[in-house]
């Protein structure tokens, strides 16, 4: 990999991709300097402030009626969709790419979806505030996050009738991983989390009267443990550092885990008291991070693909519903993970329909910009007889690419554009065929056609 490609690789993993202009502007800097800039640019978290607190003072005092709550839920669904667009646009604006990427990672790790838009915004802000901080603090914050408590039924976790849902997932999916605790540990932990609930204001509340004060035995230790104690015991297990490091390595470096490296990284992560910034800085500064085998080996998630297209060609839609439906059709909608295990990723993104849609996205821009995709209707939707609509209209702006490549000589144009858009091996690309169908009357149009055709290849799906 040359220096340009290394920068591209770093930005595809640590963010949502860099434009060729951005890469060029950093070309004179060393990788360490660039990594420093990435962290600096993401040092101050900025909350999503799209939604205001939804309850009036009176509702807060009295609580809302069931009907009002239903109305709020329905309205919230729309608000969550609006919030989705707000976040997606923020990712594309790339003011703090590293923080957005890490928030996105934690959104999949602590996967939650409850039909209360405001609470999803609160959770997102919790994730973004801790995204580059200490995992220990993040875990404690998420365990008391109202949306999480509702999602994993901890409101129903009471002294006389413990609900194990949160206790199970906090160990299985969030910290230790399956096989590193017993069923008994789950039962005992659930008792420690009794009384952790959400009040009418939509805030965390510890309900002492529902809390089981008795002695518990967790991971072989006995005591009158609180929920906080349980989380601290979990954090005291090195396995937690290993589990999180392994997941981050799989997501940011290579799905094929290199155990020695992960052990080494996890060691430092554990010793630092779970410093997330240190962990990912260690990854991005490692020489092996820039090995060929660690680049272009990941199928971009639908959100990563869409945001990258927005960054490169300012991909827009005639209305936001189209952008939302595109996420649905490709299988990843922000704020709506399929279940608490999150999106599976990897080859699970790809089936015949999603692949054809991915390959025809940029391709459609060479024709009328129209593309048809109808996601499945929501369960709550009224039945409608779907007519044969003409699909959505995509809008793009190629100026960024055309202005960058306009002075590149014809005979090296293909290589230059491909180097900017394709991060994996180019061995399978049929260059002659693509050059042939990318012929055009002007240099500008040739650049557009080349870029659109390259963006319609399987190779472009890999980051």
């Amino acid at each position: 990999m040359n220096h340009h490609q290394k920068i591209q690789h770093l930005y595809l993993r640590a963010g949502f991709g860099a434009t060729p202009q951005e890469v060029q502007s950093m070309a004179a800097l060393s990788l360490d300097e660039i990594i420093g800039k990435l962290f600096e640019g993401s040092s101050v978290p900025a909350d999503l402030n799209f939604m205001k607190y939804p309850l009036s003072k009176k509702q807060e005092r009295k609580g809302a009626s069931a009907f009002k709550i239903l109305k709020m839920i329905l309205q919230s669904r729309r608000e969550m969709e609006d919030l989705n667009i707000v976040w997606l646009n923020r990712m594309a604006a790339a003011k703090a790419p590293l923080r957005e990427k890490m928030t996105f990672f934690w959104h999949n790790h602590f996967a939650t979806s409850v039909p209360f838009g405001f609470l999803m915004q609160v959770q997102n802000n919790t994730l973004r505030n801790h995204a580059l901080g200490k995992f220990s603090e993040l875990l404690h914050a998420v365990a008391k996050d109202p949306a999480m408590i509702i999602y994993l039924n901890n409101q129903q976790n009471k002294k006389d009738a413990p609900n194990e849902n949160f206790a199970r997932e906090v160990m299985e999916l969030f910290t230790l991983g399956e096989g590193n605790y017993s069923e008994k540990d789950i039962k005992e932990a659930a008792r420690a989390f009794t009384g952790w609930t959400v009040n009418r204001k939509g805030q965390f509340q510890f309900n002492v009267s529902e809390h089981d004060e008795g002695e518990k035995e967790f991971l072989g230790i006995k005591g009158k443990f609180s929920g906080e104690d349980i989380l601290n015991f979990i954090l005291g297990q090195k396995q937690t550092a290993l589990f999180i490091t392994s997941k981050i390595y799989g997501e940011f470096v290579n799905g094929k885990i290199h155990q020695d490296r992960v052990n080494n990284l996890a060691d430092k992560f554990f010793k630092s008291g779970y410093d997330i910034s240190l962990l990912i800085k260690n990854i991005f500064s490692a020489e092996w991070f820039y090995d060929d085998e660690n680049a272009g080996n990941k199928i971009s998630s639908p959100v990563e693909l869409i945001v990258r297209c927005k960054r490169m060609i300012d991909l827009q839609f005639d209305d936001d519903v189209a952008l939302l439906n595109l996420q649905k059709a490709l299988g990843q909608v922000l704020f709506f993970p399929p279940n608490v295990a999150g999106w599976k990723g990897g080859s699970a993104w790809i089936d015949s329909s999603s692949l054809l849609l991915r390959l025809n996205l940029a391709q459609s821009l060479l024709h009328d910009g129209k593309i048809k995709y109808r996601p499945k209707p929501e369960f709550e939707d009224k039945p409608v007889d779907e007519s044969d609509d003409d699909g959505y209209r995509l809008i793009s702006d190629w100026a960024l690419l055309t202005s960058y490549f306009i002075n590149v000589p014809d005979d090296s144009l293909f290589d230059s554009v491909a180097a900017c858009l394709i991060q994996c091996s180019r061995d399978k690309i049929k260059r002659a065929e693509i050059e042939k169908i990318s012929n055009a009357d002007s240099k500008e149009n040739r650049i557009i056609k080349l870029a659109a055709n390259l963006m319609s290849l399987p190779e472009f799906q890999l980051i």
Partner: protein, 383 residues
Amino acid sequence: MVPQFLKSASGRMGIRKSNGKILVVIQLAGGNDGLNCVVPFRNDLYYKNRAAIHIPDNELIQISDDAALNHNLSGIAELFDAGNLCIINSVGYPNPNRSHFRSMDIWQSASDENQYVQTGWIGRMLDANCHSHQCHPHQAVEIDDTLSLALKGEQLKGMAFRNPQMLKKTASTPLINSTGKNYEADAADKSYLEFLYKTLAETTQSADYIYAKSKIYHSKIQYPQNDFGKKIKLIAELIISGAETSVYYVSLPGFDTHVFQKGTHARLLKSYSDSLKAMCDDLKSNNRFHDVMILTFSEFGRRVKENSGKGTDHGTANNVFIAGGALKKAGLYNPLPDLTNLEEGDLKFRIDFRSVYSAVLSGWMNEDSEKILLSNFDSLDFV
């Protein structure tokens, strides 16, 4: 008439010869109110709980001493009388989840309530039959724009399309034709790039195959002129054309009837029943009905007691319909649900839905159901 060379079950694409049996799965999405489909018309509790939304006598078709079908299911009633329908009552699973999304996930992945399985039961059936180059997405087809979890396996996923012509068009752009179409897969290469090229090549081949099959037979039978009717018609046409697809999957949405249930529910049931009846007639007149089994389910039933909005809220156990020309046991498979013995106002399940799947997989499709369902479930004996 179907040309003989296109009729063979294991034709030009070298697919493992299946037993020629076909499964059609119809998903009633949103939570179908099973109690207003198969009505316990002699049970006072039914009328007591449903003062506003019960089905009155003159809208019922009696099928046994204590059960009657909603008259919008008249097509289903005809299948019942002909011995081509089996009604299984009180189907569900332990610790029922009342979220649409989660419960549908459980039905599609055939998992336990507290398990997150990221493949579908039909997908795992594809996996079980996918050996090296003999994997074709069109072995399981969903008539829709996007593919459901049910049809996603680890090695192989089914394919989704609404319209074979559109499918062919999107799968044969000049770029795809020149890059992916004749791609020779390299089994030794385990990279994602190879996986993408291989998936693309399979997709284009399956798109060509489905398009060719869709040209063969055009039904003369009248199907309902709506979206669902068109989808069911397409399935019947592909079956009669001899397509090598062994599973078809289709969804009819809109069953989440929280308010003013009756009108909406009636329209949906009629659309479902008339479409299914037309398909069965079509298959019969082409001598294929004995090869086809049609399974209808919903992610949950509705609460026994109606709500204040003349509708019903999310419930639990529900009835499942099995239609086909070769049922071993037709009629009412088991007694109607017990309305006196409820759990938090909901029906208790008596039959695990995976026992229904198990019967379909082992009894009909000749598969190893324990392997596909990840656990052993007693098969029902309707097949």
